[in-house]
Amino acid sequence: MLKIEGLRKSYDGNEILKGISVDVSKGDVISIIGPSGSGKTTLLRNMTTLEQADGGHIQFADVDKDFQKLSSKDIQTIRRNVGFVFQNYNLFNNKTALQNITEGLIVARKVNKSEAKKIALEALERVGLSDRQNHYPSQLSGGQQQRVGIARAVALNPKVIFFDEPTSALDPELVGEVLKVMRDLAESGTTMVVVTHQMNFARNVSNKVIFMADGHIVEQGSPESIFEHPSEKRTQEFLTDILANV
């Protein structure tokens, strides 16, 4: 459904992504793990056209083109078919939880107001925040903000939802509530691509794990194969390090 080939990106001559290929099928829950600085977030931002990639090919929705040749219409098509959940939530600060969700529906999708409100309320209920619909982001905890962020992405009914380290900015005791929402989404068949440091999530919820280091995909496969029998030395080192700290 979404196919990326040979994605490259450099900043000031530093190559961050050295030709990444990812294949996402409908219903996939893909976890991308790896040490910091390995390009996980950059990969997500380039796949969703938040940043302009230097090279590579994308095949998604009605688009089948090289990244550099994307027209603004193509970019719009891609963006309208993905949802994005940010590390630091990025809720619209001047809008309530409800308005955060309806904004994209009304302004970008041209859904009429009452319909948008209905969809938004459903999305909020899904993340367990119906009672906070009129709260502004500053009145919500980090975990609640992130759940609104997820609801905002879900409400647009995208083909794929991308999560960029959704729990990294949260206090430890709030991580659970966000992971629970994500787990529910995964179980209901939502296609998800998740950059995460939550190994439990990667291991138990996703059906595919990608291990990245230094701008390459080092290894990918089922959670069992990555966590139980990693074939690459780099993967073993990383897992030993990270599991030692749990």
Binding site: N90, K95, E103, R109, Q144, L156
Partner: protein, 271 residues
């Protein structure tokens, strides 16, 4: 020394005709310079080639010269310039138009800088979030970024407006009949300078104070979305009292505490 109070009352009566003139100058200058200043700020932020340099130069010219010099230059240059174009009629133009020009040019420069800093306080993530829900950059600017920037700009806009009000008193140099000009004329007739100037002083105080209150209310109304975590500073309604209002800053809340904070406050209110 005693003050001639009868004279003060008289000056107060005549000088009040100057109040609308002062307000007119301020309003015209503000209404033009707010959008233009915002536009100039955008030119600077997006580094639009050519225009950026012009705006930069313009701002530093205006900020680098005293307003009195600007007034004198505009007041001597424009009439003779117009004289070449439309002839003698140039000299019968109401001088208030020159005041509009000077003060507008002046506050455009101030507000350009105000908007520039305000627009930069809005996190880039807001734009990215907008893009990812499919909004176009222009829609994001009008619906998300500008409203937030305006609110963080409000205190500085208040400041700029107050300076503008006070500076407008210099319009008397261009023989605009504002509060200051009228009082000065009255004073010169009767040699009661102090009384006339005291009246001027009180008028400006009242005008500026009212502006301050209006802006405070605007700020409070528009910043409803950021009220919860910290109490906004309390407006001091009694500027002359020694006792200052109690401003209780609520301690930075922990991440988890913040969520229930709004509710707690409601409960507190009920009790």
């Amino acid at each position: 020394m005693s003050l001639n109070t009868d004279f003060m009352v008289k000056v107060a009566h005549t000088a009040i005709q100057g109040v609308p003139v002062t307000l007119q100058i301020v309003l015209v200058a503000l209404l033009i310079s707010l959008p233009v200043g915002c536009l100039f700020a955008l030119i600077r932020i997006y580094r639009i080639k050519g225009l950026e340099q012009i705006v930069k130069l313009y701002v530093s010219f205006v900020r680098g010269t005293p307003i009195i010099a600007q007034i004198l230059i505009v007041y001597s240059a424009f009439p003779s310039l117009l004289n070449m174009i439309i002839g003698k009629a140039a000299f019968s133009i109401n001088p208030i138009y020159y005041a509009y020009i000077v003060f507008t040019l002046n506050s455009i420069a101030t507000l350009t800088e105000v908007f520039r800093s305000a627009l930069q306080t809005v996190d880039k993530g807001q734009l990215e979030a907008g893009l990812m829900v499919g909004m176009r950059p222009r829609q994001i600017f009008w619906r998300i970024i500008l409203p937030q920037a305006l609110i963080s700009a409000l205190p500085n806009i208040t400041n700029a407006t107050l300076y503008l009000m006070k500076n407008s008193s210099l319009a008397f140099i261009m023989s605009v009949k504002d509060i200051t000009a009228i009082a000065k004329t009255e004073a010169a007739f009767n040699y009661n300078f102090l009384e006339a100037y005291l009246v001027v002083w009180v008028y400006y105080l009242i005008i500026c104070y009212s502006a301050e209150v209006i802006f405070y209310l605007l700020e409070r109304y528009f910043s409803k979305y950021r009220r919860s975590t910290k109490k906004t500073t309390y407006f001091n309604w009694q500027p002359f009292s020694i006792k200052q209002p109690n401003v209780s800053a609520e301690a930075e809340l922990t991440e988890s505490g913040r969520g229930d904070h709004a509710q707690n406050r409601r409960i507190k209110k009920k009790l």
